[in-house]
């Protein structure tokens, strides 16, 4: 245990998590909190109030210089030329066969200046891929700023009310997937983005990654959210929240062996953006051949049982037809749900299938995703 801990990476908030008795796990080489008070309580806090997550393990790569847009356009499938300064969008870096290097969020900081936020477990691979793929392109400066930021996610219907107490920036003026710089907890020029990975309204803020500042801001956010019942949340709740919202997780729904079209993320792949991005040709060929042979679908268990990651999906006859990529009880929906790859002929809503749970076939139904969608804000 001792030597194992030594090799795990830690965020600047590691001591804070341990001091608050978080249950820690090895997540992709990082020593991260999986839960604080309890996964279900944390999940419900985010759906009904507000929760705070340390997501500093996420990586950040910045592209600057006159060639930066061309590099981002070559690397990522979405059309970054459509971004305004202060706007972000979901995108992905692909291999030539249309499978995933990683999914990313691209932020346009200013003209010729882009920040892409990448996953923790793929950091080294992503940075190498970026340098190999666009490092030779002209007039571009690529910086790995992954260790420079403590990234905090404040999520839930009370996220805005919580964060507004700590900043003079008008958060009402930040639309979904936009960001601004403002003073937060007496820190100048903090990037405040209306983004998240919970299916809920919320913000992600990027502050300096020293322990003192990180711990202070963490504490101030918790104090500001106390009146709304804020809970510090771990990766366990982060996973069930994103699963209810049917958001993909690298290594599960999307990976080196799944492509954009079967993952149902084709709407983010701008084939006509006028740039031959890596993977485009493969996606065009798959579409020309009639589309993908399998699709990612939502499943809801209709018999008693919980389909989990890696469990086989079968036709009712018992024939194996696919696999669950993520499955769990859904704490807010109070159903057992899963995302799974199945052949297209089984992918229609209301199709009945079975999940093999430790040798037993348990019935499930294909349902529309997302499983959970937050109510539209009423003015």
């Amino acid at each position: 245990m001792a030597e194992m801990t030594a090799t795990l990476r830690k965020t600047a908030l590691n001591a804070t998590h341990r001091a608050h008795k978080a249950k820690m796990v090895d997540f992709g080489g990082w020593d991260m909190p999986v839960e604080y008070s309890g996964l279900v309580a944390e999940h419900m806090a985010v759906r009904t109030g507000v929760g705070l997550f340390d997501v500093s393990h996420m990586g950040d790569i910045q592209f600057r210089g006159p060639g930066s847009l061309a590099a981002v356009q070559r690397l990522c499938m979405n059309d970054a030329s459509k971004l305004a300064v202060g706007q972000a969008h979901y995108s992905a870096m692909l291999y030539p066969d249309g499978s995933f290097v990683d999914d990313v969020v691209v932020h346009k900081l200013s003209e010729n200046d882009y920040l892409i936020v990448i996953n923790a477990g793929t950091r080294e691979k992503d940075v190498q891929w970026v340098r190999k793929t666009v490092g030779h392109m002209p007039s571009i400066h690529i910086s790995d700023y992954s260790d420079m930021y403590t990234q905090l996610a404040i999520q839930g219907p009370k996220a805005q009310a919580t964060l507004q107490k700590l900043t003079d920036t008008d958060l009402n003026g930040i639309k979904n997937y936009w960001f601004r710089w403002g003073k937060v907890c007496d820190l100048y020029n903090v990037m405040i983005a209306r983004t998240g990975y919970t299916g809920e309204d919320g913000f992600e803020i990027y502050i300096p990654s020293d322990e003192t500042t990180s711990g202070r801001v963490w504490g101030e956010v918790l104090a500001a959210g106390a009146e709304f019942g804020i809970l510090p949340c771990g990766l366990g709740a982060r996973n069930t929240l994103r699963l209810e919202a049917a958001m993909a997780l690298y290594g599960h729904e999307i990976s080196e062996t799944t492509n954009v079209l079967e993952a149902g993320l084709g709407r983010y792949a701008k084939l006509d953006k006028g740039v031959e991005f890596v993977g485009r040709e493969a996606l065009v060929a798959i579409e020309a051949a009639g589309g993908p042979k399998r699709k990612l679908v939502g499943l809801e268990m209709i018999e008693r049982g919980i389909g989990r990651d890696g469990y086989p999906v079968c036709a009712l006859s018992g024939e194996k037809i696919g696999v669950i990529t993520s499955g769990s009880p859904a704490p807010f929906l109070k159903k057992n749900i899963a995302l799974a790859y199945v052949p297209v002929q089984y992918a229609g809503v209301d199709e009945l299938v079975a999940v093999e749970i430790r040798g037993q076939l348990v019935k499930a139904r294909v349902v529309a995703t997302p499983f959970y969608k937050r109510a539209k804000k009423t003015a």
Binding site: L39, G236, R304, S328, P331
Partner: protein, 129 residues
């Protein structure tokens, strides 16, 4: 974490308490804490014959599923039906929330199990703190 001294423990984190020839089985405080929010307990049927050290059911939390191992051999004489609708009781009080009762086949099997003190040592060695 509390481990009653009058219970015996397995290394798979079950407890058993014995009265006469009846053994009552549950999971330990450490087990419920590691699993987190328990949502499902799968138990055998009345009359099923269990073997010591063999899987007899499973307990599922939101994040994981864990097999249950019988601390002793015997015939199932009672099932805690409350757990069907309220599995979270195991989280609330693992020591008081039994899962099943067994008519023990051979009470001497229990000598192979851990005492509360030994179990506590085992857990601290396993978790490193």
């Amino acid at each position: 974490m509390a481990y009653p001294a009058n219970y015996k423990y397995t290394k798979q984190h079950e407890w058993i308490s014995v009265e006469g020839t009846t053994g009552t089985v549950g999971i330990t405080d450490y087990a419920q804490s590691s699993l987190g929010d328990i949502v499902f307990v799968e138990l055998p049927k009345l009359g099923d014959v269990l073997d010591a050290g063999k899987i007899f059911g499973s307990v599922e939390s939101v994040k994981a599923v864990s097999d249950l191992y019988s601390p002793a051999s015997g015939t199932v004489t009672a099932i805690n039906e409350e757990l069907k609708d309220a599995p979270e009781r195991v989280n609330a009080d693992a020591n008081a929330t039994w899962m099943l009762k067994l008519e023990l086949k051979d009470a001497t099997e229990l000598d192979a199990l851990l005492s509360a003190a030994d179990y506590e040592t085992f857990v601290s060695e396993e978790t490193g703190h």
